[in-house]
Structures are given as C-alpha cells and as structure tokens.
Symmetry: C2
Subunit: 237 residues, 2 copies
C-alpha cells in the first residue's frame, strides 16, 4: 500500500502531524517556526524544517541501528517524515552532560561546568504550566507513565545519551544536553518519538565551544541559520 | 560523663545549635522564630520552640522504636534537645500524600487532591537559590549524596511516611506532606536529622480538614499558636 498524506490532525509549535491512509502511520511535517521561553518569543529560522527533518532522520536511523525503537519510518520529502502513530507520554526527558540552560539558572552555576555524571530530569509536558519539573514518583502518581514504562524510558535515555555523545563527538560536536519524548502505539509498544535536532539539543562545536543550536535564536546570538546548516553538514555530510 | 551545653556553633531560621563537652553530640535549641517563602516573611509563633521540641521528641522516639536511626538522643529542657552531631546532607526530601503547597502551584492543581501513590521530591538545600528542585541524578552528579546514601534515604523516607501516616491518623490528623533532612556522623553513618513538627509537615485535622501547621502563619489564617498547641496535645497527650 502506498502511503498517502491526508488531513492535518495536530499542529504543534515546530511540526504539523497529518493522517495517512494507514491508521498506524502519520506524517510529521517540519516547520520553520521557532519559539522559545514557552512560546513567549516567536520567530522563523529559514529552512529549519528542512534541516531538522534531515538531521532527525539521520539520528533516528543511527539509533534504530543501535537497537533503540524509534517512531521513524522514512523521510518522504524535504519537510515530511513518515512516522509510526504514537500517543506521546506527557514527559519531557532531559539529559545533561554539562551544566547549561535551566539547570545553570536553577543552581546559579556557570554554563559549561562539568558534571561528574550525567543528569536526567523529567518535566511534565504542559505549555500552560510552562513544562514544570517533576519527580519520577510524581509521574507515577498521576499515571503519566507506568513504573515499567518509566524504567524503560530511563534505560533507553541513558543508552541514547552514550550513543549520541559518541556520534556527535566523532563529528566535531559536543552534546551538552538534549530533550527526548517517547510515545506508545495502539498496542502499548514504546518508541522514541518527536525529533532530535538543534531545536532540542545543546550542541557546542568542539574546540571553539561555539553554540550550534537554538540558543542562538533564544539569546539573539546571530548566525542562527548558519549554525543549523553547520550541524546539518557535520551530521548529514 | 554529664553533657554540658557549650558555645553556639550555628544559628538557623528556627533553631540554634550549641556544642557540648562531647564532640559527638550537640544541643539543638528550638526558637519561636517563624519564616516563610524563603525567609521573605518573618514572624514569631509564641512558644513554637517549646511545642516543636516536644512534638519532635515524641516522633523521633516513635521512629527509633520502629528502626529508623535518628539523631535524637534526649529532650533536655523545654527548648533544648540533645542530638548526635551530624553533617547535614544538603537535600530536602519531601513526601506528599495529597496535592498541596508548591506541588499544587507547580501543577496548577487544587490543594487536597488525592494522589494515586505518594510523591517523593528532592530539593537542593540552598537558601540563596530558594531551595531549587533537583532530580536524583543531579544530587549524584554534584556529589551531594552517594548512590548508596540516596537509596538509603529513599528507603527510609518511604518507611517513615508509612509509619507517620498511621501515627498521625490514629491521633486524628491527616499527614498531607512533610519535609525530611538527613545527616551523617563522623563515621559516615546516616541518621534522620533536623526536626519533625508542624513547621515542616502539612497536618490537616481529620473530618474538618482544618490546617494545623505552618500554612496558618504563611497564609495569615489566624489561630497559629492554637493549631501548634492542638497538634502538641494530640501527639504528646
């Protein structure tokens, strides 16, 4: 059966989901829209959608090859990615290899400070609440995830971190931190979902420490498109 | 050797620590000073020190009898408690049996909402930072606790919650949430430390739901002293 893109089913801040003629699959369309600070800051990063689709496809393929089940099926076009239809676990899973962003702010620490061991944090995915930080037991108490699911998410996340640290390192980039989302299909099987791109990863160029991620947009550092383009070239060749 | 109270070694918001003639023990003196919202609100709760010393002593004895090692040695006087000298693990360990306080605020939920299972949260004990919430891996990354210590703290905390829920329930009080602190002696042995009192517990009268804790001071609900007195009578007889 040839997959056909059908009606829009959901529009998020950076992507649109379209139904297909197969109920098990949806098309994830990557927009150029950029938001920051819980959508208080809005803008456009020209061709971001094209670059993030490309980068995410390469990374999902790499993770699949390393036994991480992802929702990725195939890249259909510049901005369209065919993915398994999953219901998203309402948790943002953040891994940090160095202090940056909200952790630096929360702990009054300098960005770039080393961490003895990586840090994993959970946030409840709710724009209206500003994605508040939660503990694991909180996710269980509100049944946002079952205990076995949370354990799977943690196990996969640590493995993904090891894999991606090496992956980026070999391409001249330091993986400072990143956010993951997971989803479950109709049968309850878990997959890594969403995207993996400079929108949700802090990526610093090795040697120079130059930021190659959405912080360039968040903090008005300039060369936003150029930085996404650089990551795209380093990752996708 | 008779224990003698010596020089002041530390003054906190609600207690003062004094050295003794034995380096393994200190005297914990309970003040009437009350603070809230990270000490932005300050006041006095008359005889709070006397009541919290009495309540804490009863609860520490109860927990010791139930195999939880505590820093409590004996109540010396109205406001003085002899405790083991420990260095405090810089974590505030919060257990919640119902939604209230900062959890209600963070998740936009109503106070008193039931939780399917109790929630455990860690905060980094740092007044200047406003005691920020942290994940367990963050505590490990900054070596605020070792993994075995964190596991012990979690195991003890869940047990303490079961014990105290029943303890308060039998005395007509619902234990909504509470904060614990732990410390290690010179040999690295862990003890439950600090105090357990209406300053750090949310206690609601069964049936009426009337608040019998520091929220009466925080939120200017009146009958502050009377509520501490009530808890004291229910707990200490």
């Amino acid at each position: 059966m040839k997959i056909e893109k059908k009606e829009k089913i959901y529009e998020g801040k950076a992507k649109i989901l379209y139904a297909t003629n197969d109920p098990n699959y949806v098309v994830q369309y990557f927009k150029d829209d950029a938001t920051a600070f819980n959508a208080q800051k809005k803008g456009t990063i020209v061709n971001k959608g094209i670059m993030n689709n490309k980068i995410s496809a390469v990374i999902f393929k790499f993770l699949e090859k390393n036994k991480i089940p992802t929702h990725f099926v195939e890249k259909l076009s510049d901005r369209d990615m065919l993915v398994r239809k999953v219901s998203i676990v309402p948790l943002e899973v953040v891994v940090r290899n160095k202090v940056a962003g909200s952790l630096a702010k929360r702990l009054g620490m300098t960005e770039g400070q080393a961490l003895k061991t990586p840090v994993l944090e959970f946030f409840y995915k709710d724009d209206a609440l500003g994605d508040p930080m939660i503990s694991e037991s909180c996710a269980l108490a509100f049944e946002w995830a079952k205990e076995a699911e949370l354990n799977k998410i943690k196990t996969w996340t640590w493995k993904i971190n090891s894999l991606l640290q090496k992956f980026f390192d070999e391409r001249g980039v330091e993986l400072i931190d990143f956010k993951l989302e997971f989803g479950k299909d109709a049968k309850g099987k878990m997959y890594l979902a969403d995207e993996i791109s400079p929108d949700g990863c802090r990526l610093w160029e090795k040697g120079t420490g130059e930021k190659l991620d959405k912080d360039r947009f968040r903090r008005d550092l300039g060369k936003v498109e150029e930085s996404y383009e650089k990551v795209c070239q380093l990752i996708c060749g």
